[in-house]
């Protein structure tokens, strides 16, 4: 049952390739160091955004606790590099440790539903940060320094980050189109009904949590290697977990492109806007969150779609029901009345 692709469909197929080609060829134009740095950090954030979206967007399990995986990725990579391993081995190790942690966290917390799960993840992330602040192996609160023998190469970092975001994108797309992705969407809407059709919600959530954690761990490792110095109050910060959550919500929760858009916007805002208005970033994110919740649950992507529709004057049902399902619970679209 293959339907012919419309114009929008073709754009969706071609756009990632154009973007990837552009990003890979960009260094040939001798861009400024600042632009490379900006794109690097945006790619790292977008990777975490895509990772979070797998659990929060596709499976509907909103977690405040992704700083744990980001931080574990950072520290594992650093410790492995310190032990003489290649940084790429470090990223894999970081992903593995983050996945392991995701199982330990998921086993108790996935027994909880909705807001109770959210609150539990807040507890987990705060507890982990306190512990990491006190462990000897992490160097404690004073931080950890990575030293590399090689000279600093911004482009190597850049390409690593692009590879990570491409990986996250491909993983997201594959899962979204797979039987597993369908099961996750079913779980998001009605766990019990999904179980009645043979889906095991608990193990499904554990696995997608692990995949999301692995991607976030890789991003943490890549971030740490370039930063070369970091401390628990930075990578394990509550604020880091919030940022990872805000990106897909701002971009458009539940859709892969929404997560990408959110990551890009966040990266740009964080690096450009915050430099100029260092005291206002919480205000910006907070008001954005309020506006999104009350007016446009589909985030920026929903806003773009709405604009697009204005020009095309095409009748369609407004917005994606997925965002409504996640944010407003089982009632779905008709649950919202304004």
């Amino acid at each position: 049952m293959k339907r012919p692709l419309g114009a929008a469909g073709w754009i969706k197929v071609i756009l990632p390739w154009i973007l990837l080609a552009g990003l890979l060829l960009l260094p040939a134009t001798h861009p400024s160091d600042n632009l490379i740095r900006l794109l690097f950090i945006t790619a790292v954030w977008t990777t975490t955004s895509l990772g979070w979206n797998l659990l929060g967007g596709m499976a509907g399990q909103v977690s405040f606790g992704f700083a744990v995986f980001f931080g574990l990725g950072a520290y594992t990579t650093a410790l492995l590099m310190h032990a003489g391993h290649s940084p790429y081995f470090g990223f894999v190790g970081g992903a593995a440790i983050a996945m392991l942690a995701s199982f330990l966290i998921g086993l108790p917390t996935f027994r909880l539903r909705g807001p109770y799960f959210v609150i539990a993840t807040i507890g987990v992330t705060e507890a982990v940060r306190v512990i990491m602040n006190n462990l000897d192996v992490t160097g404690g609160a004073s931080g950890y320094r990575i030293t590399e023998d090689k000279p600093f190469s911004p482009l190597e970092h850049y390409y690593t980050a692009i590879a990570a975001v491409a990986l996250a994108f491909v993983v997201s797309m594959v899962i979204a189109g797979s039987k597993f992705g369908l099961a996750l969407r079913a779980i998001k809407q009605d766990e019990d009904a999904a179980a009645d059709l043979g889906v095991n919600p608990f193990t499904s959530k554990l696995w997608i949590h692990a995949i999301a954690a692995g991607l976030t761990g890789i991003a943490g490792g890549i971030y740490a290697r370039r930063a070369a110095f970091f401390y628990p109050g930075d990578v394990f910060a509550f604020q880091t977990g919030i940022s990872i959550l805000l990106m897909p919500v701002i971009g458009g929760i539940g859709t892969v492109w929404g997560a990408v858009l959110g990551g890009v916007v966040f990266g740009m805002v964080e690096e450009e806007l915050v430099v100029h208005f260092p005291n206002l970033h919480l205000l910006i994110y907070g008001s954005l969150l309020i506006v999104i919740i009350l007016l446009e649950p589909d985030g920026l992507l929903g806003l773009l779609r709405r604009l697009f529709r204005l020009f095309r004057r095409k009748r369609e049902d407004s917005g994606s029901p997925d965002a409504d399902q996640i944010l407003w619970g089982r009632g779905g679209v008709e649950g919202r009345k304004f």
């Binding site: 807001p115 507890a127 206002l280 907070g286």
Partner: protein
């Protein structure tokens, strides 16, 4: 440790429980009536502390009086927040993620306002009470803790009276117990919700002022207390005010004694260790996860729980 030291700790725990209860009760009433997990509670606590500080520094008003003055001010503030933001949330019998994220967004805004007004550095309210203490036998207790405890307890008692004697309290309890029946018999749920949000905010401001007398604070002040409030209201069964008192005592005792009780540990042989004080902040967080997973219906729910895995 000898008996006197344990008694000392127990007394400190009980004094702490008083302010904990005042801190959590605002969150409970809002959850009970509206099923909103109010993350902005942390912001209200923070504003309460700064309110008392400003009153003290600008007008030389005693912080205890400042805390009491916070009640009406934050009541109005809460009603305003409800009118501007919260009332647009659709009604729900179960907490929705949207309400949680909305309140979280508001918390970020409040925090940023805090940073703009007062900067990032830690502040504290120092009065003659802060440094003086009362001596009972071998135990010495800071006077400020006693005063704060009394204020918190008095306020809780007043709240209990309001809830059980007034028209507003009755309609509030009706909405908590059975929203459908309450609406059928004519309880105005929108108005009650607005007043409840005001009440919850008032208590948050009051408790924030009390906490500000005990600890130093910054605009990021509320978050650890937010999580403690969660632990307390989940222990207390989420919706009952008396449950909050129980939850507050349990949390305060566990937290206070966590570093004083030897923990058995097996590594080749049994031995006992004390939890290092630097790990003490983990206790409420770990307890939060534990309590949510093991007894989602609170302490009372333990006795008549229906266990259903996953």
């Amino acid at each position: 440790m000898d008996a006197v030291e344990y008694l000392d700790l127990l007394l400190k725990a009980l004094l702490l429980a008083g302010v904990y209860a005042a801190m959590a009760v605002g969150m409970t009433v809002i959850y009970g009536v509206m099923k909103i997990v109010n993350l902005a509670h942390a912001g209200f606590l923070m504003l309460g502390a700064y309110f008392a500080l400003e009153m003290f520094q600008r007008f030389h008003i005693d912080p205890i009086l400042g805390a009491v003055m916070a009640l009406p001010v934050f009541f109005l503030f809460g009603m305003l927040v409800h009118w501007i933001l919260v009332r647009w949330l659709p009604k729900s019998d179960t907490p929705t993620l949207a309400s949680l994220l909305l309140m979280f967004g508001f918390l970020l805004v409040l925090q940023n306002v805090g940073y703009l007004l007062w900067g990032t550095e830690d502040q504290s309210i120092l009065t003659p009470l802060t440094l003086s203490s009362v001596q009972i036998g071998e135990i010495s207790i800071a006077k400020v803790k006693l005063v704060v405890f009394v204020a918190a307890v008095v306020c809780m008692i007043v709240l209990q009276i309001v809830l059980h004697r007034s028209w507003f309290g009755r309609s509030m309890r009706a909405l908590i117990q059975n929203p459908y029946a309450a609406k059928i018999v004519g309880v105005d749920d929108q108005r009650t919700a607005r007043l409840t949000f005001g009440l919850g905010t008032a208590f948050a401001g009051f408790a924030g002022a009390l906490l500000g007398m005990l600890y130093s604070f910054s605009p990021d002040f509320g978050r650890p207390f937010l999580l403690r409030s969660f632990v307390i209201i989940v222990l207390g069964g989420l919706e009952s005010v008396s449950g909050v008192a129980l939850g507050a005592i349990v949390l305060a005792v566990l937290e206070t004694f966590s570093t004083a009780i030897p923990l058995p540990w097996y590594w080749h042989k049994w031995s006992f260790y004390y939890l290092p004080p630097s790990y003490q902040p983990v206790v409420p967080f770990a307890l939060l996860v534990l309590v949510l997973v093991i007894m989602p219906k609170g302490l009372a729910g333990l006795f008549n729980r229906k266990w259903k895995a996953a």
